[in-house]
Amino acid sequence: MSFFVFYIAQFSQQDQLLQKEENSYRSQSSNTIQEWEASYTAEKKHGFHEPSFYFSIYRKSSSDTLNRIQDERIRNVLSDLAYRTGNWEKVNAFYTTVKNTLPLLNSKKQQALIQELRTFYLNEGKPGNFIQFARIKTEFYSLLNISNPLNNYIPVFKWNSFANQYHLWLGNILKGDFGTSLIDSTSVNEKINNAIYWTVLLSFVSLIITFSIAIPSAFYCSFNPESFIAKVLDKLFFLFYAIPNFWVATLLILFFASGDYLSWFPTYGLGFVPDYYSTWQIMMLRIEHLVLPIIALSYGSIAFVYKQLRKSIEQELQKDYLLTARAKGLSSSTIKWCQLFKNACFPLITMLGSIIPALFSGSFIVEYIFSIPGMGKLTITSILSRDFSTIYILLLIATFFSMLGLLLADLLYYFTDPRVQLSFENKESK
C-alpha cells in the first residue's frame, strides 16, 4: 500500500510542478529584444515551447499552443477573443497582424493595444487609440462579426508523443538532474548538496538527544508516578508540548545570544572559519553555533516522545502478561526491562516514521531563525523569491523522505513485532 501511495503522490506532485514552473516562467514579460532572445533560448532549453503533457485536451475554439505566448495579459485577451469568436485560426491570424504592425521591440505598445481592444469589446465602448492602425481595425471588426459558439463545447484530443515538458522533466529527475534555479540560474543539485549536510547533522543530533532524554525519563516517571521528579516532568513536558518553537527560538536568541542580556552563544549562522583553525577549533566553533538551534529543535519532540511513551507504558502496565510473569516468580526488574520495555517501545517505531519528516519540516523555522544554510532555509528563501523549480524539487524530496519514513516504520514493525502481518499474508490485518 505504501508503494501505491508513493506512486500517486509523486505523480500529483510533478504535475503541479509543471504548471507552477510554467506560470512563473510566463509571468516574466520581456521588453527588449535581448531579453526576449534570452528567454527564447531558455524556453528552448527547458522545453517550454513543448506541450505540457503526453496528450493535450482543449476546446475546439482554443489552442494548445497558447502557452508559447509569454505575456500573460496578451494570452488572456487572445483566449477571451477565441472564446467569443469560436475560431482560433482567425484570432491567431489577427495576432500575427498585430505582431507584424507592432514588432517585438514595441511589446509595451502591443500590450497597450491589446488592453484597449479588451476594454473596447468588454464595454462595447468607443474605439480608442488602436483605430490609427487601419489594418488592425478592419481585421478586429471582421473578427467581432464571427461567432461560432458551438466550437466552445467541443473538446479536442491531441496526442503529443514523448516530446513534452513532463517527459523531459521526469527524465531529467530520474537522471539526477534537478534543473536550474529560476532566480540565480545555479543548479538545484548544487543548492541541495550544500544544504543537506547541515539539515541531516542538525536532525540527527536532535534525534539522538530526544531519545536519550525522553526514553529514560518516560520509563522512570511511569514506574514512579508519585515521585516529585515525575510530577515536575509531567508538568514541564506538558508545557513544552504547547510552546511554539519559533517563540522559543526567538527567546533563546533574545536572552542568550543577542548581547543585551546574556551573550553566551553567537546569534546566528555557522561562524566564519579562518584558514589557520585546527579541526578541533572548527568543531568547537560549530558546536557553539549549533547549541541553541538544537535546543529549539529538540524540546518539542522530547515532549512528544515522552507523552506517547507514557501512554503506551501505562497501557502495557495493565496487561495480564505482567501478572503471569510475576506469578512465575520473575523479579520486578526483569519484568520491567525484559518484557515490558520491548512492548512499550513499539510506538517508538511509528514515531520514527513520523519524526523523520517532522524534523525536516520543523527545521524550517529553526533554520530560518538561526539562519543555518540547511534545507529549511533553502525552502523558505526559494519560496519567498518564488523560485518554483527549486521549491517543487524540495517538495518532491520531502514527500519522498516521509514516504520512506512510513515504509521504514512498516517494515520495522514487520521485522520486530511477530503479531504484524503483511496485507497479502492476511487480509484482515493492516
Binding site: V5, I8, Y83, A242, W247, L254, S361
Partner: protein, 355 residues
Amino acid sequence: MKNWRKNWAIYYFLLWAAIALFAPILANDAKQDQLIQPLVPYSQSSIDYGNSNSVSPFGPQQIESIFYRHWLGTDKLGRDVLSQLIHGSRTAFIIGLGVVLIAGLIGIFLGGIAGYFGDNSVTLKKRQFSAAILLLPLYFVSITTVIPWNISSVGSFHKFALLIILSATYLFILFLIGKTVQQSKAKTHLPLDMIISRSIELIDAIPLLFLLICLSAITKPSFGGTIIIIAGVAWTSIAKYTRGEILKTKNENFIQSARALSFTDFQILTRHILPNVLGPVLVSLSFGMAAAILLEASLSFLGMGIASEEASWGKLIASARNDYQAWWLAIFPGLAIFITVVASNKLSELFQNKN
C-alpha cells in the same frame, strides 16, 4: 466560578471570544467626540511618532496623560503592542474558528462516511460501476475544457451553472444505466473507506508545514485563503478520529436495534451515531483549533499567510527578531499563543473526561 482550576479553559475562551469580537471597540484611534472611549487609544497600525523605536513598557514614555500610556510598550515603528495583541487575538480567533468549522465539516463528513459505510456497505450494480469508471475521464475532460474557467469575460455564475449541468448529466446517465439493468444482476462494492483512508494517507505523507508554505506561496495573502489552506490540511486528523470512533460505535447494540427497527442509514448516522461520537470528535476539534492557531502564527512569522496590514501574534514575534533588546515584542504575543494553545488542550481534556 467554584472550580475555576478545572474550568479555566472555558472562561479563557469566553474572554478570548469577547476580546476578539470587541477588538475594534477596545482598541482604536480615539477621537474626542467618540461615544465609547476605547481601553487602548491606539489602533493596530497607528504610529505614535513620539514613542517610536521600541519603547519599553516600564521605561519613560512621551505621553499626554496616563490614558495614552503604552502598557506593553511599542515596536520599532511606534505602534502599540497591546493594541496589536488585541487585534491579533481577533485574527487568531477568526482563523481558529474558521479552520475548525471547515475542517470539522469536511472531516466529520468524510470520516463519518468512511467509518459508517466501510468498504462493503455501498453496493452498485456492476454495469453501473464500470460505466461510472469509464465515464469519469470523459466527465473530467468536459469539466476542464468545456467550462471556460480561464476566460475572465464569462461570469462565474455561467461557469458554475455549466459545472452543475455537466455533473447532473453524468449522474443522470449513471442513473439511467442503473435503471436498465435488472435487480438480480451482479453487484460490486464501492470501497468508500479505502478511497477516503488512502487520500488521508496521501495528504498526511507530505510534511504539513512544507505543504502549507508551498500553498501559501501560490495564493494571495488573505484571511479566507489562509483558512482554506490550513483547513485543507487539518481535516485529515479529524476525519481519522471520527472514523475510528464510528467504527467503535457502529457495532453497539443500540445501533443494531435501530437497524432492526428499519431506520434509514441517514437517520442512524445523524440521530444515533453522531450524538454519541460528538464528545470524542470535540476533542479532536479543539486539538485542531490549537494546531490552526499555531500554524497561522508560524506562517505569519515567516511573512506569509494573512495580509500585511492585519495584526497577528506571529508577526509581532517576527518583529522582535529585528530588534533584540525589545523583549516585550516577543514575550507578550508568545504568551498569548502559549496560553491559547494550552487552553485548547485543556478544553480537549475536559471533553475527554465528560465521556
